[in-house]
Symmetry: C2
Subunit: 147 residues, 2 copies
């Protein structure tokens, strides 16, 4: 299960995968070409994309942590094409995300996901993520709004 870090040459593929992601979940989405252009802007900035062939991707955003002298990571997107799910690609991508973030010196990673995305939630939990504050603390919710 080969996972590699994307370069700007992968922008078209990344744009296509992100467009497929949003289309699958009926979210409004820029076109694949628009997404590719945005990805080309973000890759030199705070964004790392990991790819498993052309079957799936992880998008990580990095920023300096407020609470330590290190970076922290935000897993913005994790997507595997529907016909290739259940084959370990998501797990390989997430393993590579953790390795990459650690290698960069990040000390913390967070993400948001939905209650109904049971497969992803099980994967996160198997990989050591918690949705509670501490081991037995209260649940943590994402709140969001448009501006």
């Amino acid at each position: 299960m080969d996972v590699r870090r994307a370069t700007p040459d992968d922008a078209e593929l990344i744009g296509e995968l992100l467009h497929a992601f949003n289309t699958e979940f009926d979210e409004p989405t820029p076109s694949a070409t628009q997404m590719a252009a945005r990805v080309r802007e973000l890759l030199p900035l705070d964004t790392v994309v990991l790819l498993s062939g052309d079957l799936g991707l992880a998008v990580i955003r990095f920023q300096p942590s407020l609470w330590s002298r290190n970076d922290e990571a935000y897993l913005a997107e994790l997507y595997v094409r529907p016909e290739h799910r259940g084959a370990g690609i998501g797990r390989a991508l997430l393993t590579a995300v953790l390795d990459h973030a650690r290698g960069r010196g990040a000390d913390y990673i967070h993400l948001g996901t939905t209650e109904d995305d049971v497969a992803a939630r099980h994967l996160y939990e198997r990989m050591g993520f918690r949705r509670t504050e501490g081991d037995d603390g209260p649940l943590m919710f994402v709140y969001e709004r448009e501006l």
Copy 2:
């Protein structure tokens, strides 16, 4: 209820407020002086702090959005000293956060909070935040782990 944008001269106050925040909730925390030094590093980067006197603060992190050509905002911290809660300071800070983020051209804001922080959750909901995907969609959870 005057809210103003912090400058590097406010770093000591911000460090003290963030230290008080973590101490109140029994979280491990760097010292107020260490926090102030980190705040001085972050203010010229992606971070905006809003202050209501010396009674409360909001910490906002900005990054370019993946899904649009605009920025998005992450409300990293919102804190009011315990003896001054219930007086509208949190609401004034959050109103200023939304105004500042809009003024900067951000089109989206998100945050994480816990199930038991009922006062904050009511404030977010009154101010137009949702913890569901869409109006009646599934709940959105934060997942996190140390690295």
